[in-house]
Symmetry: D2
Subunit: 418 residues, 4 copies
């Protein structure tokens, strides 16, 4: 089963924007294999514009000359991904990642390259050309590369089949498709075409849809056609964004289950914004350690996918520990049916039964800007706790009392046993 | 704790509208004591306009002369509730219900009687008069009896305190307050005043708010101030309304917990509309037996309160069995953290872990208009089922397969054991 | 023809609120007869709550005991209107106003008194009672006196016929009906009933509808059923309100014609708020002299009715001159088809052809907060001006140039001759 | 002064769509010179996609190869406009139109050609390239040719200056700019750039903005920056569209004045849809003769520009007479300050004073689907009519009575003299 549990991995966007290089990807993969793989981390994902020879930051250069094959399929920029030379595409890099015991993923934009339409290139294994399948009025609001497809034209299916065939050849395990998850209703059919092409390509690939917020009232469509989808716009290291995630988590938590996971976006921890000599927001995460615990706790309780955004080799001890707390990470696999008990302006509490029936997880979040003692009402837990341990500190809960004095923005999470 | 589990009982509205009499209430209480009490049913609730001498149907007569005491507190119409004579109010009737081992509830409208304001009656234990506390511009859109209160005037608190003091004297255990649950934001403060008066009156009373749909974004306010609140407009014996409840159940299920329960409204089963010689919709429930199973299953899985709407003494065997299936009713007390696995136009499936950790409940609903085999994907249940039994038929699930051939609108619900 | 020209008169609201007395009305009528009548001013209008014995300000007392006859028709409070004694109603006061060569008007709220419904009073010349015609859910959002009527009940027409019959007996010439002009669509039928009762009562009466803003998309309904209607919410002596009137005037000007006039509301000039010993906004108009000229110019150009709000006997020389500039007042009768040439944040210009074909009026408004020279582009006037005179200063326009240096918020208006 | 009166002319769209040829343009110009010029018709306008070599209908072919010069300025397709050969552009055709005593106009889309951006062509007289000035996310919703400009980039102004310089060289007198009039607020700055380029180019050109509906609340911006702008989406020969125009005319009429005219769109009369062998809607106008009179009457009363849409040489006698009724056409020049007297579902009446002061025009429209006698209430005309003549029939109005029996959708218009 694809995505039986929420996928875990690394994504190049937060640290390298549109400009990541093969060397950086390899270094992150190697770090993951050595330090993280044992904890369940496995996907190494190259984010947007790997085909753009001139990318240097998080900005997109319009009207650039992007490498593509004779069928309008984009190819990695060889100046950034040397192993792609000679038409090898991402095959060699995928092979290398696989050799480390990991899985390889890429980002795509929905649609086909604008110049493939203007050049009227043929679509592989079809009688159609790119200009016939492209919709000249369907352009992404924030990226200049593609035209969306005319989904009722047979060339659209042929084009999507052609790119997933190529990705299968390369050995891709994970595709993050962008400009689509919040683009209902006009992209509903395009999601279906992409999903069908992905599943018919002959290789297991996780299909991830971006950006959010995906519309809640299309949850069933998303669950049917994707393995994960963003429930939020781009998430960065800003407390207001993290606090806002509690509302989205509450609405989406009932839709998390094997095969389809609401996605709260990358974890902006550690070394971010590395494609700049300096950056106004700084290059290390602006989240406090407390906030990072809160983020990890919420993501795990809601069973969101976990994709690290920071440059892994630069991790400090705190960050590595954060990402390798096995007890906390276990929540993703051992719990189910999580939901908030309550959420106010100052605090929130969540509960998640354990699937093995031996207990549950209870999390308490201090959403206020000062230290605060939070005690979860035992009546809401509905079962007498025999024992409980807090998973960030390892401390047992005295008398089964789920209570903690928490610093501003910090959280606690207990494994409760009956 | 008040409402540790979702309240269960009977309400007079569906069968007797605004016109129920003491004799009818006593007959229903006696039936409940004899046939239903053992299964957890306990509240006997007199619905709207028990003060209206001329009520004969579900309609409200405007500008009638309603009995009230010298403090503007409504009293039962003595022609309908003879035991109220001599100023006894609902005391004697409450006593009788209590003598059967049951609990007694009444309906109120927010505000005070219009004529109490026009007569400028004093408010008990205060220096204020009803005309000072009443807001002449706050009238209910569908009932002509009351003026809402000026919640920032001290007379408003005094008035609500005065009526709950009276209800405590009478021995009331349950108050259903109407014209308020969906009236956010303008009634937010009025909800708080009523909640505070209820909790301070010296007697445990369930506080139930109507009508719905209560706004989802005020869930925390409702959880704090009420024990149950309607998530829907009036619910009747119409399949479209029942089918529509699945969407509301999905949104509200995460807010059900001890002390506060989203309420899907009364169960319109058995003998309805009994205050008419005949009624265009008929007097027996128009729900099929399949639909009634589906309703009971959904209400139990979402842990909604259960209030029967039909005239209990007229129950047939089917209805009595429906209301006394102990295995199904157990779901309300034994499960938690329920949520839908998926809901499409044709079918829905729900899951609810058991609090004792020994298994879970899984329900399958045929929402389509024809017979349909529904098989719940084992991957979604996330645990291997050792054994499972369907609770309406008692049949074991062969090989742990959660699969059933269901008639139109019918449902199955399995108790799964690990 | 009723209201062949925009009605001109005085209204008691701005100076005496709900509390005006007969002596004050008589004093204003006498002043009007002596100083204003020659300039076209003729209506003397008693505004809201003349039936309220305890009114002292612009506030409304709820749940008071209002005088009414045995048919639920309100009568003047005799403590305020002594000539109404003995059931004479407004007859003697109307007679006195008529004796001065003027016309008499009153204000009413749509609907019938709440207590007429609660008392179940009969409706004159009908088989119905007030409780049958009243809609207990139709209450005014800002005044506590009335219930709106069930317009599809025959008692509603009977009630409105009964009050207009009474007003005709009294000798009323002008009825300002409130809580109705902006209450589309739910009051559309009520407007029709009132209009029909007014026109069938046997006496010519101007029918004026309040409060605004009346919806522009119902202009034809208003033109058919009323003689004037408010295009704005209550207008007071505040520059922001006056500046905002330019937008409404632009939208409504095409609907001004004999018999039906968009109404920009009373002129708050001179002695306002006289029912207070003092008032936070002061008791004399806060409009500058420049602003008062601008108001008069705009009202005349758009052909709005003119109803003075100040206590006339207290007029100073400026105010009297403002209200007796015959050249400016002539615009109301001599022009037609007026409209703005343009309106920006800083200035506006209007044009109005003269009906006699001998020229046109051109107005220039300085909407900015500092002195400003405004020159109206001759191309927009489309005709060569032979001569032009400015009507506030009396100065001829040199060389036909429509140009003026205007103080902040001031205006100029020229009579242009070909 | 540019556009002192509402422009009158012919436009190729209704009859030849995107496919008009030089021969067709010349034939229409010749017809205009011979038959229409004497009545004020003067502009000959080549509508959309004159640069598209493959255009054959009203459809736009995406991703075609359009002729442009080295600065990204589109050139006429030489296969359709032979005189453009050798880089002459529209110069020779403009010269020919001028030689007939007429004026020449062209259509443009806002923005620059997509391929000019992808080819990174330089912008004339600037240091910028087309890819720098183009906004890759600003595409027209219905036409695939252009990218809108980044209006805060100096290259945007340079590009618009460059194309208007070319049009001035060619001798263009009228530019209809498309994809812009309803595109507020995001195109507000682009309108300003185009307006400034047009006025600074050294040649008088009418600037017309399309398509509508332009937003009424931006009327002053449009009046300042354009000579005419569409108040409606595309208008065709369909009664529902014509009936709907009365509402727009009412809202916009106050904004018509020398230099700036609200535009009700082309007159679809005579031979339409000539670029098809046949067309489902037929090739001759589907308007009845009555409807055509109604359209001409309304357009003249509201002083809309008049641009014929039919292929002029194919005019029949009725159409030629319709377009050469000098009395009706005079309304455009002789009247001002027009507005509707009233408009109901069945009929409308308009009034327009004459600028010379000698009378006015009154029009009556039968909007119902059956014959109807319409009598305009003399009170609304406000002046006693000495004489009046109906301008379509030439008949005098007996006794000055403005009354006519009108066929379904027909109209009458009187010149009233005092």
């Amino acid at each position: 089963m694809i995505a039986e549990y929420p996928p875990m991995g690394w994504n190049s966007w937060d640290c390298y924007g549109a400009a990541v290089t093969e060397a950086q990807v390899r270094a992150n993969a190697e770090y993951m294999a050595e330090h993280l793989k044992a904890y369940g981390w496995e996907y190494v994902v190259v984010d947007i514009q790997w085909y753009q020879p001139t990318a240097v930051s998080h900005e997109y250069e319009p009207f650039s000359d992007e490498p593509m094959d004779g069928y309008g399929r984009l190819l990695p920029a060889e100046n950034r991904f040397p192993s792609a030379k000679g038409g090898a595409g991402f095959g060699p890099l995928a092979d290398y990642v696989h050799s480390l015991g990991l899985k390889f993923g890429i980002h795509i934009m929905r649609g086909l390259p604008r110049m493939a339409a203007h050049r009227r290139l043929p679509i592989l294994n079809s009688d159609y050309r790119c200009d016939q399948a492209a919709n000249p009025n369907s352009v992404c609001a924030w990226n200049p590369d593609m035209y969306g497809l005319k989904c009722d034209h047979p060339g659209a299916k042929a084009y999507y089949d052609s790119i997933f065939a190529l990705y299968a050849e390369w050995g891709v395990d994970y595709v993050k498709c962008d400009d689509i998850a919040r683009e209902y209703p006009h992209c509903q059919r395009e999601i279906e075409l992409i999903s069908e092409a992905c599943r018919a390509c002959g290789r297991d690939m996780v299909l991830s849809l971006s950006p959010g917020p995906a519309p809640l009232d299309r949850a069933e469509h998303l669950k049917k056609h994707a393995n994960m989808w963003r429930v939020t716009d781009d998430f960065w290291d800003d407390w207001r964004l993290l606090k806002g995630m509690f509302e989205r988590a509450e609405k989406w938590c009932v839709h998390a289950a094997p095969g389809h996971w609401p996605d709260a976006d990358m974890l902006p921890v550690g070394a971010l914004r590395q494609c700049y000599d300096s950056h106004p927001d700084g290059q290390w995460t602006r989240f406090t350690q407390a906030e990072q615990r809160t983020m990890m706790t919420l993501w795990c309780m809601m069973r969101s996918p976990l994709m690290v955004g920071g440059d892994l080799p630069k991790n400090d001890v705190f960050t590595l520990n954060l990402l390798t707390n096995a007890d906390v990470l276990d929540i993703e696999k051992d719990s189910w049916c999580a939901h908030p008990l309550y959420t106010t302006a100052e605090e929130s509490a969540w509960i998640a039964p354990r699937k093995d029936g031996k207990g549950c997880y209870v999390a308490a979040f201090n959403l206020s800007d000062r230290a605060r003692k939070i005690s979860v009402n035992p009546a809401l837990v509905e079962r007498r706790c025999a024992r409980a341990a807090e998973l960030w500190t390892g401390k047992p809960a005295r008398g089964g009392q789920l209570s903690a004095k928490l610093a501003a923005h910090d959280s606690a999470v207990w494994r409760v046993e009956y």
